[in-house]
């Protein structure tokens, strides 16, 4: 069954109103989606989750009168590009996991399984939109044009962010859960003040929806009609805690209480994620305010390389989600439609290997920061105590016989 969410049916704009109709094809072909939704515990009358899906797990296209138009202009070349994004992102992620296992990174939060949610939403954004990620948005960073090796610095321990957020309108990773949803909302309030038609996307996870900051972000976004899309990747697990520990209702339905629409989308369907994100971004751009997208997906790996999912979840669950793999799904669609040939896949394999090698080489050659860098960029306008401690530490370093030249000269390292 392919229908809109309850909230999305609110007739706020033409085309996404109550005209959503099921097609017989959709009803039949998306049976898998229906099954997965039905497996959810019903939490009350009328709260049965509904899922926007355009590609079934088998890679068959299903019609959706409400959202088809948002991907009507997607060409076979675009589909190949989406596929490439997902493959490259997965390859990058796999390399990072390996690097962590080899001791080159201290920690890594893998996005395995969430490629469609991130690429679909990331590719829906425009250059002038602004993205506020959590710490797992490697695929979104890829879509925003951020050099993936920049994402690794904080996990290697050479910085706490390290890229210029304004270069790609992609803010620093935020580790405290949900904090960035307020930054995104404030930024969006600024966009509205500037009369700009760009939009802001705040990424969050299912666990973050329990945070007070997210509730406050929803409140502020609603009250000020901020052009922000809250893109929640419900990957089912907040470290070891399932979504049932976060909410008694499907997460997308939370939006209704704040006065803006919420939609649940198949987070393993890149086309559906693209379509729903475009819908939400268009709402934001045209002054209709915030929306919540819940991308219903699954984190195939551990929360980070530090935890062990076998302690808290069953193998069968993971296996069931493997059947819904976002990359396999799009590949099946590309192949069935004759949109990509073997040469394309082979070239992509080679390209992704090249990326893996580059990532490996860059990480291994990342220099440790100079000790004196501890004192840099704490304040924009300087601070007397920092100056004093910098000078003291430089003198201390210079007191060693083999002191580096910069310590001897007072440690004014730039």
């Amino acid at each position: 069954m392919t229908v809109e969410s309850t909230a999305a049916r609110t007739p706020r704009r033409a085309g996404t109103g109550s005209g959503a109709k099921r097609t017989s094809a959709g009803a039949k072909k998306s049976a898998g989606a229906k099954k997965s939704a039905s497996a959810e515990k019903a939490t009350g009358p009328g709260t049965q989750p509904e899922l926007v899906q355009l590609l079934t797990p088998e890679g068959e296209r299903v019609e959706n009168p409400a959202y088809d138009k948002y991907v009507a202009d997607v060409t076979p070349e675009d589909l190949r590009a989406l596929y490439r994004d997902m493959v490259m992102t997965r390859r990058f992620d796999a390399e990072a996991v390996t690097l962590q296992r080899q001791g080159e990174l201290g920690l890594w939060p893998s996005l395995l399984g969430q490629e469609a949610a991130q690429v679909g939403s990331g590719r829906a954004t425009r250059d002038d939109d602004y993205v506020f990620p959590t710490y797992r948005e490697h695929g979104v960073a890829w879509c925003r044009g951020v050099d993936p090796t920049l994402l690794l610095g904080m996990f290697r321990g050479v910085n706490h962010g390290g890229w210029d957020p304004n270069s790609n309108n992609f803010h620093l990773y935020t580790i405290v859960i949900g904090s960035q949803t307020l930054h995104a909302t404030g930024y969006a309030m600024g966009v509205a003040k500037d009369d700009a038609d760009s939009a802001v996307v705040a990424y969050l996870g299912d666990g973050a929806t329990s945070q007070g900051d997210v509730a406050e972000a929803f409140t502020f976004a609603a009250v000020y009609n901020a052009p922000v899309v809250f893109f929640c990747q419900n990957n089912q697990w907040a470290i070891s805690e399932p979504t049932e520990k976060q909410s008694r209702v499907p997460l997308y339905q939370r939006a209704q209480g704040y006065g803006f629409p919420g939609v649940r989308v198949d987070g393993n369907d890149v086309l559906a994620c693209l379509a729903v994100s475009k819908w939400a971004l268009e709402r934001a751009r045209t002054g209709e305010g915030p929306s919540l997208v819940e991308a219903f997906t699954y984190r195939m790996g551990a929360h980070t390389t530090s935890d062990d999912p076998t302690r808290y979840r069953r193998d069968e669950e993971r296996e069931a989600w493997e059947a819904k793999d976002p990359i396999k799904r799009l590949r099946a669609y590309l192949e069935a439609g004759g949109h990509a040939d073997e040469a394309f896949f082979a070239e992509l394999d080679a390209e992704s290997e090249t990326l893996g090698k580059r990532v490996r080489d860059v990480v291994r050659s990342m220099p440790d920061p100079e000790p004196m860098s501890i004192f840099e960029n704490i304040y924009a306008d300087g601070h007397a105590l920092v100056d004093e401690e910098r000078a003291d530490f430089a003198a201390y370093q210079a007191s060693f016989a083999d002191a580096p030249a910069d310590a001897v000269t007072g440690g004014e390292v730039k």
């Binding site: 706490h160 405290v176 904090s179 995104a184 969006a188 502020f220 009250v223 306008d381 601070h383 007397a384």
Partner: protein, 326 residues
């Protein structure tokens, strides 16, 4: 007319007005700051003149106020947010400490977050709990934040101008018990540096260091001591992070004695930091250990006993006597 006689609250109001006029990117945000003009009327009339888009009544959510101010700052705005009372800042403490303070460093200096957080603080007004606290040490302890507190109308006006112009986050503690005390404000003078201390009364026998609401208390103590033939120097710290230790050191080297006075609990307070540094800097000039006068290690007490908790003239002079007895 460049020189006006204004109460502290009105000086802050004039300062906000000047900043809003000078820079369209300056915003005022907080609970009740618009139509009501703030619970202390500090923002009185600003929304009427600058509109709801620039003087913004917010939902009652402190983390939301600071968190969205961070986002606005990232967009190029300069938000000046009001936390209604000192004890209400804690819901926003996470945003201030984990986000606001660190963002400049995390971006390797690429982004700036020029957010000013105004907090009416301190006791002496007979309020209920959470309305009379002095949490300045909690903020001064956090790298990335600057913490200031004016004690008079002129500083209230100028230090807020400087805080708003700063590219760093500044916590601006307003001594609410002094809101109604008048002082001269010269809006055309050249202000002292934001983080410089100033010697507000010269003396030779001992130094009193204070900031915010306790400066006046110390000046009154110095006047009383003078009647007993004791000459006390009073240093208004003005800035709690950073602290202008050069000015403090010069005074201590002159008098040989130091008493630090603040309303906050003494334990782990800013007085401890000052005592330690002064000991390091002028050990051989000290004639007595550095003494501290402040609040007790207790929650801020009910209003009927707050005068026993707050440092007053007698407790300051008692400390002076103890110092001089060495």
């Amino acid at each position: 007319m460049a020189v006006k006689k204004l109460p502290v609250a009105k000086a802050i109001n004039e300062s906000l007005r000047t900043a809003l006029e000078a820079d369209p990117k300056v915003l005022v945000m907080g609970e009740d700051v618009g139509k009501l003009g703030g619970v202390f009327r500090v923002t009185d009339g600003l929304q009427k003149d600058f509109g709801e888009d620039r003087v913004i009544d917010t939902p009652l959510a402190e983390s939301g106020i600071v968190g969205t101010a961070i986002g606005l700052a990232l967009r190029g705005y300069r938000p000046v947010v009001e936390i209604q009372f000192d004890g209400f800042v804690f819901p926003a403490y996470d945003q201030i400490v984990t986000q606001l303070a660190k963002m400049h460093a995390r971006s390797l200096g690429k982004v700036k977050v020029p957010v000013v957080i105004r907090i009416p603080y301190g006791g002496g007004i007979g309020a209920v709990e959470h309305h009379s606290e002095s949490p300045e040490a909690l903020f001064a302890h956090v790298a990335g934040l600057k913490v200031v507190s004016p004690s008079n109308s002129s500083d209230a006006y100028w230090m807020l101008q400087q805080a708003i112009q700063s590219d760093d986050p500044v916590i601006y503690f307003e001594p609410k018990r002094r809101y109604w005390e008048k002082g001269e404000v010269n809006t055309e003078s050249i202000p002292d540096p934001l983080h410089g201390a100033s010697v507000v009364r010269e003396g030779t026998d001992a130094t009193l260091v204070a900031y915010g609401p306790m400066v006046r208390t110390c000046l009154e103590a110095a006047a009383a001591a003078a009647e007993e033939g004791k000459s006390l120097e009073v240093v208004d710290l003005r800035s709690v992070s950073p602290i202008d230790f050069d000015t403090v050191q010069a005074s201590v080297e002159k008098t040989g004695r130091l008493i630090v006075v603040h309303e906050a609990p003494v334990f782990f307070g800013s007085g401890a930091e000052i005592a330690a540094r002064v000991t390091e800097r002028c050990f051989y000039h000290l004639e007595a250990p550095v003494l501290r006068v402040g609040g007790f290690h207790s929650p801020y007490p009910p209003a009927r006993v707050e005068e026993d908790y707050l440092p007053g003239l007698d407790r300051v002079l008692d400390a002076v006597d103890r110092s001089l007895a060495y």
